[in-house]
Symmetry: C2
């Protein structure tokens, strides 16, 4: 029994001694119980980190069955979500991971609390979660973080919490590029049909839009900025509202392709030609943009790549690798198609 301090057998009790708490407390932290003070939890986590201890359950899950990650999204009715899902699935197939799909926003969905949900993920031996956009608010993520469940949020609605890993796109730059494109075509009255006002990504797009306008010395017109949802109905309603304005805009920057599609549909109904009478730019660059009539100029996000990146992050966290960054932003780029054209009737006022 001489000098037996070193090996310390990587046991719960050893961690407990090191952290200066009792074994049960360490067990609670490892298994995500609630009744541990934040400070104590931190101490224990440090000790755990340092020693690399894994609970027997964790050890089992790593060795045994293929990992299963849960993908949560609002609905499959948006091309956005489907594209991201596609990216996730592709990387999943390549990495020998399985994907469990969970669509909130379905009638009859069981209203599980995040707490229960997180517990279930543990219970069923899953090992990570990818959340798209609005499915969870920051506060609802807390139970997952507490249990150390790898979680990645794609394009979070709320400002990304410090300790949540998130994947997004350069929304600000995209918004700026779209608006600059319209400005370059001579447009000066450019409207912005945005998504939910609170959404982080929407705000970034809006501020990119404003930045581009300001760079050209074009005043930002309150009437031209309409927030709503990312859905086509908002495009329809927004288009109607814009057309009622005394000084109609000559171009519209829609914060999603779906919105833009609504604009296109309403334009058709009102016999407004796109792009001759009005230019339209979308955002997302889903296949919808390619297939619309006319094909939509749009800020393309690398949605599949975002999905892949999200899964990569989950797997990396799962393996315990340290992440070089808790936030990744992939580049957007403007794809010019046929829904934008030089501003026609406004040469005089533009001067």
């Amino acid at each position: 029994m001489a000098g037996s301090e070193r090996p310390a057998k990587l046991t719960l009790a050893a961690i407990a001694r090191e952290a200066g708490v009792s074994a049960p407390t360490v067990s609670k932290v490892v298994n995500g119980r609630e009744d541990v003070a934040a400070e104590t939890r931190a101490k224990v986590l440090t000790a755990l980190e340092r020693s690399g201890y894994k609970s027997p359950l964790q050890r089992k899950n790593i060795a045994w069955r293929r990992p299963v990650v849960e993908m949560v999204l609002d609905s499959l009715n948006s091309a956005y979500g489907v594209e991201v899902l596609n990216g996730v699935l592709e990387h999943a197939a390549a990495s020998d991971v399985e994907v469990l799909l969970n669509v909130t926003g379905v009638q009859g969905a069981s209203p599980l609390s995040p707490e229960q949900r997180a517990q279930r993920i543990i219970d069923e031996g899953r090992c990570g979660m990818i959340v798209v956009t609005s499915a969870f608010s920051s506060a609802q993520l807390e139970p997952f973080l507490r249990r150390d469940i790898p979680i990645v949020v794609i394009d979070p609605l709320n400002p990304p919490q410090a300790d949540v890993v998130s994947v997004g796109a350069s929304n600000w730059a995209g918004g700026k590029a779209a608006t600059a494109h319209l400005l370059g075509l001579g447009h000066r009255r450019i409207a912005f049909l945005g998504g939910p006002e609170a959404a982080e990504c929407n705000q970034a797009r809006l501020h990119g839009y404003m930045a581009a306008l300001m760079a050209e010395g074009v005043p930002v017109e309150e009437d031209y900025i309409l927030s709503g949802t990312f859905r086509p109905e908002h495009g329809v309603a927004g288009m109607k509202a814009l057309l009622r304005l005394e000084k109609r805009p000559t171009a519209i920057f829609a914060a999603s392709d779906s919105i833009a599609l609504g604009v296109l549909a309403e334009a058709r109904r009102q016999q407004i030609r796109i792009p001759e009478d009005m230019s339209v730019v979308g955002f997302d660059g889903t296949y919808q943009a390619e297939e619309s009539v006319p094909p939509l100029t749009s800020v393309s996000q690398p949605l599949q790549e975002m999905g892949r990146a999200a899964l990569r992050f989950v797997l990396r966290q799962m393996r315990g690798d340290t992440l070089d960054s808790r936030r990744v932003e992939l580049a957007t780029h403007l794809v010019v198609r046929e829904s934008t054209a030089p501003c026609a009737g406004e040469a005089a006022s533009a001067h």
Copy 2:
């Protein structure tokens, strides 16, 4: 410490004492470990039975693990698959089932044999599978049947095997209705842009088409029938081929909305007005048909309902219920939108 025999606190150790074994042995029996002799196991089980002991894990899983079914489809790039998936997910949410998504036709997909795949389903404790369309051939389903894994095929490519449960739609009736609609508008030169020749559902649609023609005494023209895939490219190529014909058709019945979309796109490029110059009918009735320009007349399949039905069947098999039928066919119905119009230039020849 007097007479403390009675309450016996319903603990592992108590059972062990009663069965005359050690506590670990009881634990092993309760948790289904292998290394317990059959005889010992029986003794313990008797004691367990009598006392009604439940392991903590069992106690917690009053809400037993939720069943997981695996959904297999080719790709998410078709609205068809996404709609079906939507139906499955909806019913899954309502029935407290989880859905594991598996997309074949992805590069990098691990080339697992059906044999391995079936084994894995057993290993990981899943309990059923839903296969959409072309993902598996009949022969590949054999390992699943052998293992008694509940499996349901949606709109099988091959003639449904006797012992495989399948869900489909009334393709023949739909094909006939679409063609009859065109005939009723005065069209006599009606082309059929079909999917894969071997596909059961495609054949049914084709024969519905032919039946409608024959009912009106309109000869079936070989040149007007072009098989290919269900994808838009086939619509584009088919449209080009049809336009090269000496006697151009005045209407096209496409065996999927995607094909019809390709036709629409090519028509635009060639300055052919739909429906004035040519009528187009699609099949599937996905949202694509509603949103196209012009909105597409299409034979609507109840895709979501099919997904729901498929999951219902899986769950029923899982529970061991007997199925009243191994094949369900849901009704299709024609939805007339704006891509079809009376035949214009052909009044003379039609007479």
